[in-house]
Amino acid sequence: MDETLVARGAARGAPGRDPGGGAGAGPPAGPPDLDVRGIRKDFGDSRRAVLDGVSISVKPGEAVALIGPNGAGKSTLLRCCLRLVEPDEGDVRLLGHDLRAMRGSALRRARAATGFVFQRHNLVGRLSVLSNVIHGGLASGWGVLRWNQAFAPRAARERAIECLARVGLVHLADRRADRLSGGESQRVAIARALMGSPRLVFADEPVASLDPGIGEEVMRLFAHLIRSSGLTLLFTSHQLDHALAYSDRVVALRRGRVVLDAPSRDVGRADLRAVYG
């Protein structure tokens, strides 16, 4: 069954966008922004590998949703794409770079061309919202000075305010990050991800920690920012309506393997039942 599901999208033609996501035309053709081949990761603490020969490709401007049951390897795959988790085997080409061959500053520069939004937001609670957003540009020149907004260059502060304006939180720039609500906190995390002007954004369950109403609001804003900027997006979600509405293509993982790769508009209930068993 798995084999019939995998690459079904490819058999049906090029992926398109789901009108429900407010999308325009499909992603432009060209070399993929992310090309992952045969990724394997085994943490050695279970009987099977978390990722077992996973291959996916994300084109420029494409929005891809990664779905799958708990433990399928979605979060690990996202982390392997930036080598936050080191894959045991396989290749990762990120924005044209062979990521696995990179070390030190070259690896940091490659990462800096991406943004990452985490499920738990991962803000530094004791610092201000503005400082947290400026952290998104730590990789740039004189990055160390950006640890706190008080020391950051004027250009970095202005850019951070601009990013905060895009998520509608300029008025909270001075507030400590640990005094924010869940929705505000995740919007700050999105602003931080946009701070470095990324071409590709990863998001790991971006609204899983928010209540349904706020989660919907934040997800809509997030998807709008990504699409209006023409950015590439790879995100994981347990909320299938989000996965289908905000992506061009759905890739499903089950037990560390890709079991479905299809345009979002073509994914039906039977496919999802097959993924989640």
């Binding site: 936050l84 490659a110 530094v124 610092l127 730590l138 990055g143 706190n148 470095g196």
Partner: protein, 267 residues
């Protein structure tokens, strides 16, 4: 209708049983306690014999003499300077050492083990022993005392800073690594702000500890007011000793108040 049968009682955990293993551990501990009490009783006898002398000395200590107030003030300033400089340099060195000694930040396992071993060594050797070592190495005076405080502070703060850094939430660190930040940037932006309350707390305790140490280090010639206090006591100038003790009290109390103020502001 109510159920007439009462709910079953929960199974109680077993009572403390005196197993042979517990007996083997408990008996030597009991013997040690008996020996300690016996020793204390002997000390108690000596205390009773010395009580009249104690009363006489206390009587002679009051009122305090301010004849050598100028010297006492100069030495108190030297004592406070030793404490502040030693604690400040020790805290700065501890920060660098803690960066190596925090498991989640250390660049290499060897660096982790060596720095942890150094911190343990600095902590287990008493400050008075360090002072004797530095007096021999650099000569009598406040430099030896300051160096002793630096090393003692590194042993104290190094451990607390490293533990505080290890306990920080890994999430913000991962977020900054994902954005391409370097190791130093990650430490400054994500680790230090999160560990700051614990680090400030440890630093303030280190300063209080340094002030108390700087008073005592003079006894081995490592600068500060200690030598003056010892000289006053040795020469039976108890009223001068009172002045020194009061000055020490004011200094320690002042530092404790300052420390409490800083904690309130930052924590």
């Amino acid at each position: 209708m109510a159920d007439p049968s009462p709910p079953p009682l929960p199974v109680l955990p077993p009572r403390l049983a005196l197993s042979p293993a517990r007996f083997a551990v408990g008996l030597p501990l009991l013997a040690l306690l008996v020996l300690a009490v016996e020793r204390a009783w002997t000390c108690g006898g000596e205390l009773a014999k010395g009580a009249p002398d104690m009363a006489r000395i206390l009587d002679e200590m009051w009122p305090p003499s301010f004849v050598r107030a100028g010297t006492v003030a100069r030495l108190m300033f030297e004592t406070a300077s030793m404490a502040v400089a030693g604690a400040a340099v020790g805290c700065a060195a501890s920060f660098l050492l803690a960066f190596l000694a925090a498991k989640n930040l250390s660049p290499h396992p060897l660096a982790y083990y060596l720095s942890r071993a150094a911190i343990s060594f600095f902590r287990t050797v008493p400050d008075l022993v360090w002072a004797i070592f530095f007096v021999v190495a650099v000569g009598l005076g406040p430099v030896a005392g300051t160096l002793a405080i630096v090393v003692d502070t590194m042993g104290f703060c190094g451990r607390f800073y490293a533990d505080a850094m290890e306990e920080t939430d890994p999430g913000p660190r991962e977020a900054l690594v994902a954005s391409g930040a370097g190791r130093f940037g990650v430490v400054l932006a994500a680790v230090v702000p999160a560990a700051l309350p614990a680090m400030v707390n440890a630093s303030m305790f280190a300063l209080e500890k340094a002030v108390r140490a700087s008073v005592v280090l003079g006894l081995v010639g490592a600068g500060g007011i200690g030598i003056e206090l010892k000289a006053s006591m040795d020469m039976f100038q108890f009223s001068e000793a009172t002045t020194i003790i009061l000055a020490i009290f004011v200094l320690v109390l002042g530092v404790e108040q300052l420390s409490a103020l800083v904690r309130r502001r930052i924590l």
